[in-house]
Structures are given as structure tokens and as C-alpha cells.
């Protein structure tokens, strides 16, 4: 699904294996026989993991998009405090980068870091959440990269 190909070009068939499977695996006439596909389970697990990882990433990206929207008019008055925040975040990014890539591999751990993220957000609502435990590395890391 390349964005480059314009909509006028109708693709004659799905391109990637995942898209083909999407079409032929659980659609079409299903006959009460036996479907001899040893690898189907693995494929589904892989997709699940990808979705969990995507949601953390996506939320942070959306937040960043909002920040960009809002910062445009205020840029001139941001001054020193804004600058300080950037520097702090930059430092945090470098400190936590290794830890983050370490956990990225398993969906389970990403999911648990999401849970911690939620707990944290409750804390920060009470006004005490600014110093970040390890799990908070995700926001800073993504912000630094984008």
C-alpha cells in the first residue's frame, strides 16, 4: 500500500502477503473440512504484538501533533522556561533510550509499561508526577525523536 501510487491506479491484486491472507484466509466459501495451515497461529500473534506497540507510539505522536499546533502562535514568548524544558527532555531521552529499546521487543512488557503510564497520569493529575520513573521513558524518547 504505497502512498505514492495515486488513487486512479486500481491495483489488480493485494500486494503483501498479509493483505493476501486477509482476503483468502477467512473469506470465501468455508467448507466443513480441515484447514491444514500450521502457521496461521503464529501470524495472528505477530499482528497482535504489532497493534499493542502501535498504540503507545500513536498516542504519543498525536500528543506531539497537538503540541505543535498549539506552539506555533506562542513561539516568540516561549523564552527561557520553554528552552529549559527542552533541555531537560533531551537529557532524559539519552538516559532512557537504551532501556526503551530493550523492552520494545515483547508486547507484554510494552503493555505493562502502558499500565504504569496510566498510573502515572493519575499521579500527575494530583500534581506530583513530574519526575519520571523508568516507564515514563517512552514519552520523552518519542518526543525527542520526532
Amino acid at each position: 500500500m504505497t502512498m505514492a501510487s495515486s488513487s486512479v491506479n486500481r491495483a489488480p491484486r493485494p500486494s503483501g502477503l498479509a493483505d493476501v491472507l486477509d482476503l483468502v484466509l477467512d473469506k470465501g466459501i468455508v467448507i466443513d473440512a480441515y484447514v491444514r495451515l500450521a502457521l496461521v497461529g503464529i501470524e495472528i500473534l505477530t499482528l497482535d504484538a504489532r497493534i499493542v506497540i502501535a498504540s503507545v507510539d500513536t498516542y504519543l505522536r498525536f500528543a506531539e501533533a497537538v503540541n505543535r499546533l498549539d506552539l506555533q502562535p506562542n513561539k516568540q514568548v516561549a523564552g527561557l522556561p520553554g528552552l529549559m524544558e527542552e533541555v531537560t527532555e533531551g537529557g532524559a531521552k539519552h538516559k532512557t533510550h537504551g532501556a526503551l529499546s530493550g523492552v520494545r521487543d515483547t508486547a507484554k512488557e510494552i503493555a505493562s509499561s502502558m499500565k504504569h503510564g496510566d498510573d502515572d497520569s493519575d499521579d500527575s493529575d494530583n500534581g506530583k508526577g513530574r519526575e519520571a520513573p523508568a516507564e515514563r521513558s517512552a514519552p520523552n524518547d518519542r518526543r525527542g525523536n520526532r
Binding site: R10, A11, P12, G28, V35, A38, G41, A63, E64, L69
Partner: protein, 259 residues
């Protein structure tokens, strides 16, 4: 000799010049005015998902010549005589289905947008709800939900427009998160209306900046064949979600061959 089944076509369908799963030739077994598209498989040959494109290619070659009813990937009959026997019982329903789908093809449509425009649109709609600051995960989640809603409305517009040019349509998948295309829809389009359908798709993309609507087809009517018509006795456990037969067990003994 196991029979791998691709689908059904009218009995007069000629053999398409195409290789099927495992590089095997596809042949047509004619019975009861039906053409059964099959390949002969060695009993100990194990197929995996990498064969899926060949399943599709065989069906596309037949679709090029006329109507075809696609069977789900990975369907095996113990041998040709039992396949013919089972199909005979269901032949009238299959022929009706072939007639119903004779002049139409499936076209699958996906739509994605430019994320920055989508975010800007929802924030502009309710700036107070999306103040930056606080936990970016919480803000991002809220924005994501709003973006999904916004996309839902765009998706509705697209479906309503394309529905005018199709005889039937159905959701292929609803996006479960903002990373997926927000529209994944299948349309059943008369063969002669495919050009008009293309024009409409192009027009939709041009109408909204950032919106990209793409289509794939013509495909065999995977999303529209009625499995109910030929599945009177089939149990729901046979759906693909069911655990595959444990390795080493004989599917032909443990399974039930029938519709």
C-alpha cells in the same frame, strides 16, 4: 491423492493456464454443470501461508474468463470422488450462487488520511478538550479517539458515494486503532461499471486534501459468497479461528468431510 480446492466455476470453464499452490497445475473437474477448480496434492505435502498468493492467482486467472466462487484458502478434499460426491449434494445452491455473482466482481477499497490534517481538524473543533500539557499519553489517547470519530464520518461519506455504483457492499474490517486504514470496505461492482467506480474513487481522493482512497480488484467475490447457502450442516467450529489440526494427526480421520 488429496484434492486442493480453489473454487467453483461454470461447468464450461476451460482450464486456466496458471500454476496453483506448490506450483501444481490447476485443472477443472466438471460435474453437475459445475467446474471444480482443483490441484492434485501429494498426501504428505504440507502447505503454509506462503502459498496463499498462488491460491489467489489461480482464482484471478479464472475470474478473468468469467464468474468464479472462491473457496477459503487451505481447503482440502481427501480425493476427487469424495469431492464430487459432496459437491453433487450442494450443486444447485452453488449454481444459484454462480448465477447471482456472474456479472459482478469484488473491489476492495481502503482509505487513509494525512494525520496532521486530521488532528488539526479535531482540535479546531474543540480546542479546550485538547490543551497540551499533562501526560502526553493521556492527551494522545483522547486525540486518537477524536480522530477515529472524525474518520468514521469521512468513511461514511465514501461508502455512501461508492454504494451508488455497486450492487452490494460490506465492511472488510473495522479499524481497531488509528494505525490501520480507517476504511476497509468491499464492494460488489458490475463488471461494466468498474470504470465508473474507478472515477468515483479518484474523485473522492481529489475532493479532500490529505485523503487517499485506494482500490484493489477486480477480485473474486470473497467477501460476498454466501457460505450459508452451501454450509447447511457446517458447524461454526470450522471457522478459521478454530485451532488447526494438531501436527501428525490425520485430518481426514479426525475431521468431517461435508459442507
Amino acid at each position: 491423492m488429496t484434492c486442493y480446492l480453489y473454487g467453483f466455476a461454470p461447468g464450461t470453464t476451460s482450464v486456466p493456464d496458471v500454476r496453483g499452490v506448490a506450483g501444481l497445475p490447476v485443472r477443472v473437474v466438471a460435474t453437475d454443470d459445475l467446474g471444480l477448480l482443483v490441484s492434485d496434492l501429494d498426501d504428505d505435502l504440507v502447505l503454509d501461508e506462503s502459498e496463499a498468493p498462488h491460491h489467489l492467482d489461480a482464482l484471478l486467472a479464472v475470474l478473468d474468463r468469467g464468474p468464479v466462487l472462491p473457496v477459503a484458502f487451505g481447503t482440502l478434499a481427501p480425493d476427487e470422488p469424495s469431492l464430487i460426491a459432496d459437491v453433487s449434494a450442494q450443486a444447485p445452491a452453488l449454481r444459484r450462487e454462480l448465477e447471482r455473482l456472474a456479472e459482478v466482481v469484488e473491489i476492495d477499497v481502503t482509505a487513509v488520511d494525512d494525520e496532521a490534517s486530521a488532528v488539526a481538524a479535531v482540535v479546531a473543533g474543540a480546542p479546550d478538550r485538547f490543551r497540551p500539557g499533562g501526560d502526553p499519553l493521556v492527551l494522545g489517547e483522547r486525540v486518537a479517539a477524536a480522530v477515529m470519530q472524525h474518520r468514521g464520518r469521512v468513511a461514511d461519506d465514501i461508502v455512501l458515494r461508492l454504494r451508488e455504483l455497486s450492487v452490494e457492499d460490506t465492511a472488510r474490517k473495522y479499524a481497531s486503532n488509528p494505525e490501520e486504514p480507517f476504511l476497509q470496505w468491499a464492494f460488489l461492482v458490475p463488471r461494466e461499471a468498474v470504470g465508473k467506480f474507478d472515477d468515483a474513487v479518484a474523485e473522492l481522493t481529489q475532493r479532500t486534501p490529505g485523503l487517499v482512497v485506494q482500490s484493489v480488484g477486480p477480485l473474486p467475490p470473497f467477501s460476498f459468497v454466501s457460505t450459508g447457502a452451501v454450509g447447511a450442516e457446517s458447524s461454526s467450529a470450522v471457522q478459521q479461528g478454530a485451532a488447526p489440526a494438531p501436527e501428525g494427526s490425520d485430518p481426514f480421520r479426525s475431521g468431517k468431510w461435508g459442507w
